[in-house]
């Protein structure tokens, strides 16, 4: 046998388990969802075998459309706030002394290691009508009666920013850290003010991290149904809640159709990101 073929066979052998697994649990699974979205719900339970596009027609129904648009709005808003807070944070962090920087990195990473549901649960306690935050504000005399904080859209929004902001900070930090600051100094030397140098040099050169951060924040934000469950009461505010409710009521075809829509939005965002020059590897940092 030719040496080349032997080598090929060997690397195929190495790849094979991953390929088979991926084909089964990613490719076939997603195809299955797409197929399911073209069927419809049976009389009482189960699924009929008729092929139909009615699920997609139902997407235009105000009860779905409203939530999807609302969810989209919330995701965009979350991404924006994450940029406003996360980008400066990542930037400042990269400019710190190595020792301080590694401590802050540690402080950022440790919450990752603690359960996200626990942290959301902590917020729940904090925001309750007679919880610590209201008590604190009452004692300071800023408010005279407890504010309704929990079970509001604001609480969901807070939870989303809270859960996703590390995904903006870390890629920003990485790109700022890699940036050769002599180019910024060159800009200053050529007469740019600090602010001008920041916006004309630093920001464009760290765009890759910023874009990766946006993708990493925006995409999961549409599916985090447990956030609105735990912080927003029983109202459906996210696309994820809609899907979850449909699964609960066993309308799998409609749930699939919504998932396909979500998948399409995700694909669109990633395609946009790629087109803008982003690499998939950058997204895999975490």
């Amino acid at each position: 046998m030719k040496a080349n073929q032997q080598d090929r066979r060997f690397s195929l052998l190495l790849k094979l388990p991953m390929y088979l697994w991926t084909i089964m649990f990613v490719f076939v699974a997603l195809l299955y969802i797409i197929g399911l979205s073209f069927l419809s719900r049976g009389e009482r339970i189960g699924i009929t075998n008729e092929v139909t596009v009615s699920n997609y027609a139902r997407l235009a129904d105000p009860q779905y459309l409203q939530v999807m648009l609302n969810s989209l709005k919330l995701s965009v808003l979350t991404t924006l706030i994450c940029i406003v807070i996360g980008y400066p944070f990542g930037y400042l962090m990269a400019r710190l002394k190595p020792t301080v920087r590694s401590i802050i990195m540690l402080l950022l990473i440790v919450p990752f290691w603690t359960n996200s549901l626990i942290r959301i649960y902590g917020w729940r306690i904090l925001l309750m009508g007679n919880g610590p935050l209201n008590t604190f504000l009452l004692n300071l005399g800023i408010i005279s009666s407890p504010l309704k904080l929990l079970n509001t859209d604001g609480a969901v929004f807070l939870g989303m920013v809270y859960a996703l902001i590390p995904f903006m900070i870390l890629p920003t930090f990485t790109t700022v850290d890699k940036l050769d600051f002599s180019v910024v100094e060159a800009a200053r030397d050529l007469g740019a003010s600090p602010l001008r140098a920041f916006f004309t040099i630093t920001v464009p050169l760290t765009m890759a991290g910023l874009m990766a951060g946006c993708v990493l924040v925006f995409i999961p934000s549409m599916g985090l149904f447990f956030l609105s469950d735990l912080l927003g009461g029983s109202k459906s505010v996210l696309a994820g809640n809609l899907i979850q409710n449909l699964i609960k009521s066993r309308d799998l075809p409609m749930a699939s159709a919504l998932s396909v829509l979500l998948l399409a939005v995700t694909g669109g965002v990633i395609a946009l990101y790629r087109k803008a020059g982003g690499s998939a590897g950058e997204l895999g940092l975490f």
Binding site: L12, G122, G223, L262, T266
Partner: protein
Amino acid sequence: MKKHSFGSLAFMSLVLLVLYLPIIVVVVYSFNDNTARIPLAFTGWSTRWYDSLFEGRGGYLDALWLSVKVALWSVLISGVIGTLGAIGMTQRALDGKRRSGWFDAVMESMVTLPIMIPEIILGLAFMVIFNALGIRGNEARLVMAHVTFCVPYVFLSVKSRLVGMDQSLFDAARDLGASSARVLRDITLPLCRPAIISGSFLALAMSMDDFVISFFVYGAGEGTLPIKIYSSVKVGVSPVVNALCSLMIAAAFIFAALSRYLGAVKKARSSRNQMGLTSE
């Protein structure tokens, strides 16, 4: 390094404070003496919830155990699959072409897809496909689902390490008489070890933390720790959870500090060796 203004330090501290606010609340409340059903007022210090936790009250330890078991199995399986896959994909063929073509490229984006798309989609997909395949065991369902989203972390970590590596190391081993399998054992795997470890730890954290996918995949029962917490939040979580979570947070801190310390020790040792070289 440029000196930071007071404003920027205050900003960073504030963000970190907000990041830790709920964690602090959880830890403080784990020591709350209040035994009301929804114990909001802090009435004094006590370790009663820790005692109940270790008595196994509320089934939280069982849930934690399930989470750990699923995570370990998932990391083990995905570690093997992802590492070998990354090595197979980056291996250069003797005809000088790195890839066997479009199929590998498609597969690569397919492999990383699970961590790119909203988790709820995968949750639904696993649910229907496991039902269709007739896979009923909760643990098997959880492990299969978790392996699928753990593979990308291991794969990406190992791949980025391999891509940055000098290809001639593998050529040299072949040139010195090692077969492909032997190069894998003697050279590739040892050199990938740090990447395999860090990818596996990331996968472990993600598996332990996963709620959305596990929630859809899991059938009847108490569930993993995140599922257990979710389902009990609305009825009012027992402060036992606070105790458990505080312990987990402490463990996370100890682990992180330890790995930093070990890293520092290793660094010091290697720099000492370097100095030994120059002094001779």
